[in-house]
């Protein structure tokens, strides 16, 4: 049985179709799973993505991808490819590749629980499954969506009642909108950092229903933010940008907030366990649902997760890639917003 995808120093490559999936060096044809900066990189000749992911990719990279609908089959050379919802962020996809009866799936980044915003994850039957494992350890088990929304709103309400502004750090694509969709708008107005609002504009433009938001601009006075909640990329929260809000309570939304040590190190007032990646249970369920026997793990706790899969009877391998997953180290990765400086 030959390998229909190979792992090269440019990215995951399909010789039969002469294309790459989420390559990290410039190539001729790139299939892009979603618009996060470690997956959608500039410099390729041709881009292919879902119609739902294309506007973000276009906005961030200044390119015009060829688009397909979810589930639509496309022939590239001797390969048949199709995109299937990954539940990671709006528009995100897994890429299914079929060559001579062999089916491989590149999952990109994914999340199993429906968040009410992203197209829900859809298991795709395959022979080989290429998976991330950002949170591939049994200590990562996410809080349910409803409980998370209740925590978030309780914090916002208490902060507003105390006369302070609530500022929450969340990636500008995906998590920011998830936070937005969880809010109880009767508490107060919602403000957004420019990087977040740019993504909101793109998503609204393609028909994603998002609650109303106000872009933070230099002309606003401190009083304008009264009872407000501000959504900003984590990298903006350590800088002078924060000063305009006066006394503020800081929250962070990240899967890493499940760990008390990380929460304390961040010196945040509150950490909300919100991730757009699968938790331990989610990873195991997703892998089982594919029916695949061969598993390639790309980024995250690859060593232990591979060994765990092997102990469960899988033919499991680690492949090294340049994907980053959810950064533990938010302050240090300014480019996580996907905005080019």
């Amino acid at each position: 049985m030959r390998d229909i995808l190979t792992f090269t120093d440019r990215g995951i490559y399909c010789p039969a179709g002469d294309f790459y999936v989420d390559p990290w060096r410039p190539v001729d044809r790139a299939l892009i799973t979603h618009g996060h900066a470690d997956h959608a990189r500039p410099g390729h000749e041709r881009y292919l993505s879902t119609a739902a992911a294309a506007p973000v990719i276009a906005r961030r990279l200044g390119v015009t991808p060829q688009t397909v609908a979810y589930g639509e089959r496309l022939t590239l050379g001797d390969a048949t490819v199709s995109f299937h919802p990954a539940g990671h962020v709006p528009g995100s996809a897994q890429v299914r590749v079929e060559v001579g009866g062999q089916v491989w799936v590149v999952s990109g980044d994914y999340k199993v629980e429906a968040d009410g915003l992203s197209e829900p994850f859809e298991p795709v039957t395959c022979h080989a499954f290429i998976t991330e494992c950002t949170f591939g350890l049994p200590v990562f088990n996410w809080t349910g969506q409803a409980e998370l929304a209740a925590e978030l709103n309780a914090w916002w309400r208490a902060t507003a009642d105390a006369g302070r502004v609530a500022v929450i750090g969340a990636y500008s694509l995906g998590k920011a909108q998830r936070v937005l969709a969880s809010l109880d708008l009767s508490i107060g107005p919602v403000f957004t950092h420019g990087a977040v609002e740019n993504m909101n504009e793109v998503l609204r433009g393609q028909g994603v229903a998002l609650p109303p938001t106000i872009r933070v601009t230099p002309g606003q006075a401190r009083a304008d933010y009264a009872r407000g909640l501000v959504i900003a990329p984590p990298s903006a929260m350590d800088g002078t940008w924060m000063r305009r809000f006066g006394p503020a309570s800081r929250g962070y939304a990240s899967g890493w907030m499940a760990l008390r040590g990380v929460r304390r190190r961040r010196a945040a007032d509150r950490g909300f366990v919100m991730s757009d990646h699968a938790d331990w249970t989610g990873l195991n369920a997703a892998i089982a649902a594919t029916g695949a026997e061969r598993i390639f793990v790309t980024h995250g706790y690859t060593g232990p997760f591979r060994r765990w899969l092997e102990s469960r009877g899988y033919d499991a391998h680690v492949v090294s890639t340049e994907y980053e997953g959810e950064s533990l180290d938010t302050a240090a990765t300014a480019d996580e917003t996907g905005e080019r400086p």
């Binding site: 990380v262 304390r264 007032d269 232990p304 533990l328």
Partner: protein, 532 residues
């Protein structure tokens, strides 16, 4: 435990001191007496002893979670805390519990008398009745590692807010030899009247480091200077015909230092002396390393007493004839102290801390330069008219330490930290060339860098790991750091032949190539110059 868990969550969720005091004060107002007494005990370090071994606990947790032990062991360093790792891997609880903190502590104490099978069953049953925070706290209690990140000072403030009793009085009341089993909230906090009063020490007065020049303190004549010693700060309490010795960590160490029993013959009842416990032989101080051999031992052999005897260097007199002298000016306390211990025979385990005469700040600066050869850390400057404060207060007492010694060395191993520093490489081993073309490790250091620097070095370690040895990674010898330390001693336990006192990273020397760092010969020269 729900109310206590809610308190813990409230404290854990804010970095604001006021909010923490408010949360704690609210708890102290409302919680049942037993629970608030236990909370004071826990927050003042009076934790129940460990009831189960960490090894057993890991095995039982992995089994309960349905994961192999090796996988649990992989996750533990990522979380950086055993109690939390267990709380995170366990399946959802099947039941709930309304039991009070005191009830739960009773259960943890009961674990100690069980055999392993019963203990495991009891712990599994407990896990099944507690939510994630409850489990975390329960695990902390049974591993004897309970800490809440609340200082005693902050707790005292909250207790004062809740009871209306003055903070300094409370700080004194909750010191000493008590446990929740030997007293009540009423007697400990509200009346301050319990058996512990006999042995009770006073809250220590602490000094801030002097950062500006001493001229900023005004005229030198208003100040008294003493040598600052590197021993164990302690209090000697002589009341009701007994002697009690307390360490600054509020630990009763009387039995570890039987030398002090003899003070019964030298000082009268109703006396409390603040001083430094030091290893001392033939009229001179021994290195801190020598004292270290005494610290961990609860029973002391005659041989050890002969080889490493201890004395107390008396700094201050806090009580005389049963009278609390803390509001009396230091000059007068000092005069009384001299009257009490100044004329003791040479074999008494007490000696007066000598003052450093000074006509000017320049005199003191010159004296300070001789600290290292006297095995002192520098000078203490105390205002002559100062009262004996509770805790660390700016203005009246200053520590004026000598500048640390430094060497430039290269990092060769890195290890991730725990708790707040989990997932960050923070513990490094440093080496210098030994003159034969090899590097010899000579110290570890854990502190001194900013969070941003630790993040940066962590990324570098991840990307440049050569080999892994369990949690330790070896890295190429290219990152140079300036290591600062307070003292240097010969050591037979280390390959380098030296041991440093308080090593830390003073600076990351990105500008310095490895070829230009210090050598083992440099360290040996420092040992010859400063090792005692």
């Amino acid at each position: 435990m729900n109310r206590f868990a809610a308190l813990f969550t409230a404290l854990d969720q804010t970095t604001s001191t006021n909010a923490r005091v408010a949360a704690l004060a609210g708890y102290f107002r409302d919680a049942p007496d037993d629970d608030r007494l236990w909370t004071i005990a826990l927050l003042s370090g009076r934790r129940p002893r460990r009831a189960v071994t960490a090894t057993n606990l890991r095995e039982w947790a992995a089994e309960r979670a349905g994961i192999p032990l090796w996988l649990f062991e992989e996750a533990y360093p990522v979380v950086g805390d055993l109690a939390e790792t267990i709380a995170l891997v366990l399946p959802e609880p099947g039941q709930t519990s309304d039991d009070s903190l005191t009830r739960w502590i009773g259960e943890t104490v009961a674990l100690r008398d069980m055999d392993d099978a019963a203990r495991k069953a009891a712990i599994w049953a407990a896990w099944d009745r507690l939510d994630r925070t409850g489990r975390f706290l329960f695990n902390k209690l049974i591993t004897g590692g309970f800490r809440m990140g609340v200082s005693q000072k902050l707790m005292t403030r909250a207790l004062a807010a809740a009871t209306g009793i003055e903070e300094t009085a409370l700080a004194h009341r909750i010191m000493g030899d008590w446990t929740p089993q030997t007293t009540t909230f009423e007697r400990l906090v509200l009346t301050g009247d319990n058996e512990a009063a006999t042995s009770r020490p006073y809250p220590f007065c602490l000094a801030h480091p002097l950062e500006a020049g001493p001229e900023s303190l005004g005229d030198v004549s208003g100040w008294l200077a003493e040598w600052k010693w590197d021993g164990i700060r302690g209090q000697l309490v002589r009341r009701a015909g007994q002697v009690f010795v307390w360490s600054r960590g509020e630990e009763l160490v009387t039995d570890r230092f039987p030398e002090f029993a003899a003070t019964l013959d030298f000082v009268p009842d109703g006396t409390v002396i603040d001083g430094e416990i030091m290893a001392w032989r033939d009229g001179g101080v021994l290195p801190f390393q020598a004292l270290q051999t005494r610290i961990g031992r609860k029973t002391v052999s005659a041989r050890m007493l002969a080889r490493t005897p201890v004395i107390m260097t008396a700094y201050d007199l806090l009580e005389q004839d049963g009278q609390d002298l803390r509001e009396t000016p230091f000059e007068e306390r000092r005069a009384r102290l001299e009257g009490l211990v100044g004329a003791l025979p040479a074999d008494a385990p007490l000696r007066l801390s000598e003052t450093v005469p000074a006509g000017s700040w320049g005199d003191l600066a010159a004296a300070r330069e001789t600290s290292r050869e006297r095995s002192a850390e520098g000078l203490m400057l105390k205002k002559r008219d100062s009262v004996y404060h509770v805790g660390r207060k700016r203005g009246d007492w200053w520590k004026w330490k000598v500048d640390p010694l430094t060497v430039d060395a290269v990092m060769i191993y890195a290890q991730a930290g725990h708790g707040r520093r989990a997932n960050l490489f923070t513990d490094f081993t440093f080496a210098v060339p030994d003159g034969t073309g090899s590097l010899v490790p000579f110290t570890k250091a854990y502190s001194g860098l900013t969070d941003a620097e630790f993040r940066e070095i962590t990324r570098w370690v991840r990307a440049n790991t050569l080999e892994r040895f369990g949690p330790v990674r070896s890295v190429p010898a290219v990152q140079v750091f300036e290591i600062a330390f307070e003292g240097i001693q010969a050591s037979t336990r280390h390959k380098s032949g030296i041991a440093l006192r308080f090593p830390r990273m003073a600076r990351w020397r990105r500008d310095k190539p490895v070829g230009e760092i210090n050598t083992l010969a440099d360290l040996k020269a420092m040992l010859a110059a400063y090792g005692s």
